[in-house]
């Protein structure tokens, strides 16, 4: 009787486990980010340059009319760039900012365009902060909680500051290689949406830190 009950429960749980959403990336992005400063030393926004992997680039370019085979001009890619930033809105541009620990909001992106460097598409866009901030510690994270998109800092100079006061110093933390347990927890995130106040996903975020003492 008890064994039978175990078995029944186990079957149900097995089926649940089978269905556990285990997303894995289908899009890889290597990125450069530049923090933009106003003359008065406040941070006004972030300028991103995201390079997509070759397979996703080919997918995104599908059906885009272009004059020369293997070449795409900025104009030919304009409508795709528009689509990109429109679609990214729903995902908060995968960019999360905190000023001295307080969450900041971004406005709609500006100055966006796509560039094609065979075999990759590069999406350039600037995310202005709704309200410019002048914190001691600014933290910007770039990640996709559902891990459909894998974000990675570019190899050379991934983070830069534009017009920052001289005492400001930018550092960045690579997301550590997730341990197996963390990976498993991460895999749950699209099955069990995160509490809005949760900071769990940050373990895996690409963190940019700017300190202005």
């Amino acid at each position: 009787m008890i064994k039978r009950m175990y078995c029944c429960c186990a079957i149900v749980l097995l089926l649940l486990s089978v269905n556990r959403a285990e997303a894995h990336p289908h899009v890889w992005v290597t990125f450069h980010s530049e923090l933009l400063y106003a003359v008065d030393g406040t941070i006004t926004g972030v300028r991103h340059a995201w390079t997509f992997d070759d397979m996703f680039s080919a997918y995104a370019l599908q059906g885009t009319s272009h004059a020369k085979k293997g070449q795409y001009t900025r104009e030919e890619l304009a409508s795709l760039a528009q689509t990109n930033v429109d679609s990214l809105k729903e995902y908060d541009y995968f960019t999360y900012a905190r000023a001295d620990g307080k969450k900041l909001k971004f406005a709609e992106p500006v100055d966006y365009w796509l560039e094609y460097k065979n075999p990759s598409l590069i999406l350039h866009f600037t995310l202005p902060l709704k309200v410019p901030a002048a914190p001691r510690a600014m933290q910007i994270e770039v990640y996709d909680p559902s891990i459909f998109v894998d974000f990675e800092f570019a190899k050379d100079k991934p983070v830069s500051l534009s017009g920052a006061p001289p005492q400001c110093l930018a550092t960045y933390d690579l997301p550590h290689q997730p341990t197996a347990a963390e990976q498993a927890q991460l895999n749950q995130l699209d099955a069990v949406p995160l509490d809005p106040s949760s900071t769990y996903g940050e373990i895996f975020a690409n963190k940019i830190l700017v300190r202005c003492p």
Binding site: R4, M55, A58, Q62, S87, D195
Partner: protein
């Protein structure tokens, strides 16, 4: 219960409980404190699968490029595609859960489980190829259009899954209620005594003795006798409305597999599941197309499907065996055991509806091709 059976039951239960522990800890993690120690054994495997499939997927583009110059690279590509398919089937959207639940709810055989897994994976590959062939090759559609098409097909697929689940839930829910009622009669001593003798006169007697029995019951009893269940002593066990009488150890009759209600019914489920193309396959196909290697992409996609089928079939076999085991145990408990089996079926049917609803609501699968492309 023999000793060896007891051991095998214990082993299976241990494996399943281990699974369950992993699930419980993993599910609770986002809300509570993580429990790395508890989740370690299972998530180690999950993490490994995750890392492997990502690595294989990324290597695909290199092999596709290479196969342009080098014919031998194509065979490597096909090999990698197969392995990727095997790993990727552990991911979302491949309908393992729906197929497994379906097999459990419908008391299907493992042979049919494997066949259905392969058919569903084949449909999935073919849908991806057809979508890309029509939209990209013939119409020159944009990624946005293709993404929307895939999304639409997905919605249809999920809606069909819900419909199939609801139908099963209705059928199985009725059987469950019937089993409930039978349990109540069975407990009257007079009938319990009669059951030990012969089923045929008994079922007739039972039906006559209870004037309030609905007509449907009489029909089922009739079916049971035709099915030959009366040859066995447990007459009450064969009242169900589908062909295989539960708890009998013999394999499927060929007629059972070929029967109109059999394959057709199973096909409806796998078509619903298989309709949804895998976004990885779509991307690979379009990438191959951009390299003027569409047919290489088609080959890779079909082989990926083969790999997916292997995993899904393995999982389906486990589900079917677990059910078989449960029903063998249940058989030793006569009516109560049967009630438990009916409850499992109802549960599995409810799970199908649940999965369908979750998928439709977008909570489970997150392979969103439209993340960047609208």
């Amino acid at each position: 219960m023999t000793r060896s059976r007891a051991i095998s039951v214990t082993a299976v239960v241990a494996v399943l409980v281990a699974f369950a522990t992993g699930i419980v800890s993993a599910w609770s993690a986002p809300f509570g404190a993580p429990h790395p120690a508890a989740a370690m054994s299972v998530s180690g495997l999950t993490g490994w699968i995750f890392a492997e499939q990502a690595a294989f997927y990324r290597s695909l583009s290199g092999f596709i490029r290479a196969s342009k110059e080098d014919g031998a690279a194509m065979w490597e590509l096909f090999g990698i595609s197969f392995v990727y398919g095997v790993f990727h089937a552990a991911g979302p959207g491949h309908g393992k859960a729906v197929i497994s639940s379906y097999l459990v709810a419908n008391e299907e055989t493992w042979r049919r489980g494997i066949a259905l897994s392969f058919v569903s994976a084949a449909i999935q590959s073919v849908v991806a190829i057809v979508v890309v062939a029509i939209a990209a090759v013939l119409l020159g559609a944009t990624a946005k259009t293709i993404g929307l098409t895939v999304h639409l097909v997905e919605i249809i697929s999920y809606a069909l899954v819900i419909l199939i689940g609801l139908r099963l839930l209705y059928v199985k829910g009725r059987s469950f209620l019937v089993a409930c009622r039978e349990l109540t009669w069975r407990q009257t001593p007079e009938l319990a005594f009669a059951a030990a003798h012969a089923a045929k006169p008994l079922s007739a007697a039972t039906l006559q003795s209870s004037g309030q029995r609905p007509g449907a019951m009489a029909m089922r009893a009739g079916q049971c006798q035709v099915d030959g269940c009366t040859a066995h002593v447990h007459g009450f066990h064969c009242h169900d409305d589908h062909e295989s009488a539960w708890g009998h150890a013999h394999g499927p009759e060929p007629t059972m597999l070929a029967g109109a209600g059999g394959w057709r019914r199973g096909l409806a489920a796998v078509v619903a599941v298989g309709l949804r193309p895998c976004s990885g396959a779509i991307i690979v196909l379009i990438f191959a197309l951009a390299q003027d290697l569409f047919w290489t992409g088609v080959g890779a996609t079909l082989i990926m499907g083969l790999g997916t089928a292997a995993t899904v079939a393995a999982i389906a076999t486990v589900a079917v065996s677990a059910r078989g085991l449960a029903s063998r145990i249940a058989r030793t408990r006569a009516a109560l055991g049967m009630l438990a089996m009916r409850a499992i079926e109802v549960g599995a049917a409810a799970l199908i509806v649940g999965f369908g609803a979750l998928l439709l609501a977008g909570y489970v699968a997150s392979e969103q091709l439209w993340m960047f492309t609208g």
